[in-house]
């Protein structure tokens, strides 16, 4: 296999909690606690999980929007987490981001033209003024916005159109990787479908790699090649989408899938409802982080933290159940049933 476009090894990001009179550090939020993954050129990897699991922090760490606590981020063979701000700058052209909220992620005082031209100017992509104009026009075409809308202000557009502008801005730098941080979550159903289709088309046309961060499993299944499931700062399972959605190998993934309401009325489903809430990432539980809510937890889960290990072709999961004999593993038996 060739070198992946993005390689993340044992990434950790802890945020200090300050308190008291002198602002002393009183604890750490273990937002991301040792995760590894890679994205090949032209591939979509989705990061799914519930709020507070650290998926957005991973996206920001990959983009080097803050220093990471430990681990390394390698872009196309070059380690980027140790670079200085100035040597990082040219590399930022290769990684762009689309944010969740199309209302707050565009500068209200800049016309669409300036929003899109900024990355092109910053990275010196355009040869001359005519080239810049041509690029801007092409960008508008790419995201299916009318060319004459380029002189308007962000407030003149609807949510879906603004998200198109956000995507055009990300594409302006001609990146290899786009991080979509809940890029379609804030949109209405019919508009969401438009943007999902657009992202899929763009990926095919431009051969982009995508880190698609989302909590919406149905959208993820629709969009992605591979999926990584996060829980409380850890990746608990990574697999190709078929394999993950047909035979989840971690109890959390299983519960997550069964919790999604399916738009088919009267479909009888045996739902696995998790009890309780996600524990605090300030003091994550010992052993397996999921044991407090896991329906299958046994003694070993409370003391021993499971590692990600292969459970099948291109499928890894972190769960002690896979050490049990086949017949006693509820995950495998659920699949057979």
């Amino acid at each position: 296999m060739s070198t992946p476009l993005l390689q993340v090894d044992d990434l950790k990001k802890h945020f200090p909690i300050r308190g008291g009179l002198f602002g002393t550090v009183t604890g750490q939020v273990h937002a991301v606690d040792g995760i590894s993954f890679s994205i090949a050129k032209g591939e979509t990897l989705s990061l799914v999980g519930e709020s507070g699991c650290g998926k957005s922090t991973v996206g920001r760490a990959v983009l080097q929007l803050f220093p990471i606590t430990a681990g390394q981020v390698v872009l196309d063979g070059q380690r980027i987490d140790t670079l200085s701000a100035s040597s990082m700058r040219p590399l930022r052209q290769r990684m762009q981001v689309v944010f969740q909220d199309p209302f707050s992620s565009l500068n209200p005082r800049m016309r669409v033209r300036d929003i899109l031209a900024e990355p092109i100017r910053n990275f010196g992509i355009a040869k001359d003024a005519a080239d810049l104009e041509a690029r801007l026009a092409r960008l508008m075409d790419t995201v299916r916005l009318p060319r004459d809308a380029i002189n308007r202000w962000p407030h003149e557009f609807s949510g879906g159109q603004r998200q198109r502008i956000g995507i055009a801005r990300a594409l302006a730098a001609e990146p290899d990787l786009i991080v979509c941080d809940e890029a379609v979550s804030a949109l209405d159903v019919s508009v969401k479908a438009q943007i999902v289709n657009l992202l899929q088309d763009l990926q095919k046309e431009l051969g982009l790699a995508m880190l698609f961060i989302s909590h919406d499993l149905a959208i993820v299944e629709h969009m992605t090649h591979r999926v990584a499931v996060m829980y409380l700062g850890k990746i608990v399972e990574v697999a190709g989408k078929r394999s993950l959605f047909s035979a989840p190998m971690h109890p959390y993934t299983e519960a997550l899938l069964s919790a999604v309401p399916v738009p088919i009325p009267g479909q009888a489903r045996t739902r696995k409802i998790l009890t309780g809430d996600v524990p605090s990432p300030i003091n994550p539980p010992k052993g397996c982080r999921f044991h407090t809510r896991c329906p299958y937890a046994f003694d070993r889960c409370r003391v021993d933290e499971p590692e990600l290990r292969p459970t099948g072709e291109g499928h890894i999961a972190a769960c002690h159940l896979h050490d049990l004999p086949r017949a006693q593993n509820p995950l495998l038996n659920a699949v057979a049933a």
Partner: protein, 332 residues
């Protein structure tokens, strides 16, 4: 279904006066709810579903809002009641669950006080008795160690627990009708599953009718019995939930259903493109000629742009407002 409906809304119009014209947020919507039934109102943001819910409880500030039409609840028209009479109904016979459990609880009162408030007001319970009942309610909605939780403030609870508290407040006085406005939208899926399960379970035990406002078709399929689809302030379709999903008759509903990816799509090889509804929701500040959906409809013709289609029965218990919706013979 027969007998008198618990709630019947007739030609509800809620308009807002704004500096640049009248916003017709809800424009002539009628529906009814029978006792013990769950009715879902679906639509995208700005279609008027929340305004409809707020109008039933008369929570719309007037002015700038203006509510017209009839809202019959147990033989009384809520729109003709005095504020004093209305207060006796809110939180007592009709109660509401709001979307944001973070902002709809009072941060400076304990959850016990907030659950007890409706009981003291409507049932005249003493503080001690109200707290006792509050503990019972917290047990009912599945909050662990309710005796200590009753003294907690909202910030000490997680999002899912706060929504449980909201439900406890809403159910404290045994309402006949519960209006739930996007009750699970702000929650994570695993917590959403807990709350939906709780609502279903409580409905059987308490027997209240539910009007569920949501944009999530998955939630509709799981909990509702009948569905009203709203678009741009109008009701465009109404049907029993199975009929609506199996056989949507309005092009907007068809588009909406096609725009949602279904979980399990990769297994059946159905990873085709999502169907898009082109264009945007029309502005409600301009008077719309003809069908509200005509501008985005793939089968709109001349007549759609000039004559607004009436909401007609297209099959038994299945109404749609479309000139071209297929009609089945309705059994006389």
């Amino acid at each position: 279904m027969s007998g008198e409906p618990l709630l019947s809304v007739e030609q509800l119009q809620t308009h807002f006066r704004t500096p640049d014209g009248v916003n017709r947020a809800v424009d002539g919507v009628s529906f009814h709810v029978y006792a013990g039934e769950t009715l879902a109102i679906v639509g995208e943001s700005g279609c008027g579903k929340s305004v409809t819910a707020m109008s039933i409880l008369r929570l719309i500030p007037e002015p700038p809002g203006k509510i017209a039409g009839k809202i019959n609840f147990l033989g009384r028209d809520l729109l003709t009641l005095s504020d004093r009479e209305m207060r006796k109904i809110r939180g007592n016979e009709i109660s509401m669950i709001f979307q944001e459990p973070m902002t709809s609880l009072n941060p400076v009162l304990t959850v016990g006080r907030q659950i007890g408030e409706t009981l003291r007001l409507h049932q005249g319970l003493s503080s001690a008795a109200a707290e006792q009942k509050a503990i019972e309610m917290l047990t009912l909605v599945g909050i662990p160690s309710p005796e200590t939780r009753v003294k907690d403030y909202p910030h000490q609870l997680s999002g899912g627990m706060r929504q449980r508290v909201m439900i406890a407040i809403a159910l404290a006085c045994n309402p006949k009708l519960l209006i739930a406005d996007e009750p699970t939208t702000a929650l994570d899926v695993t917590i959403q599953a807990q709350i939906l399960d709780l609502m279903r379970d409580l409905k059987h035990r308490v027997g209240a009718a539910i009007v569920l406002i949501t944009h999530d078709l998955g939630v509709v399929a799981e909990v509702a019995e009948r569905v009203v689809v709203m678009y741009a302030g109008r009701k465009v379709e109404e049907a029993r939930v199975a009929d609506l999903f199996a056989n949507p008759r309005h092009p907007y509903t068809q588009g909406l259903l096609g725009a949602v990816p279904k979980l399990g799509s990769s297994l059946t090889g159905e990873t085709t493109r999502l169907s898009e509804i082109p264009g945007l929701v029309p502005s409600l500040k301009n008077k719309i000629q003809g069908c509200v959906f005509a501008g985005r409809c793939f089968m709109a013709t001349e007549v759609c742009h000039t004559i607004a289609p009436a909401l007609e029965l297209k099959a038994e218990g299945h109404a749609a407002a479309c000139h071209y919706a297929p009609v089945e013979a309705v059994a006389a």
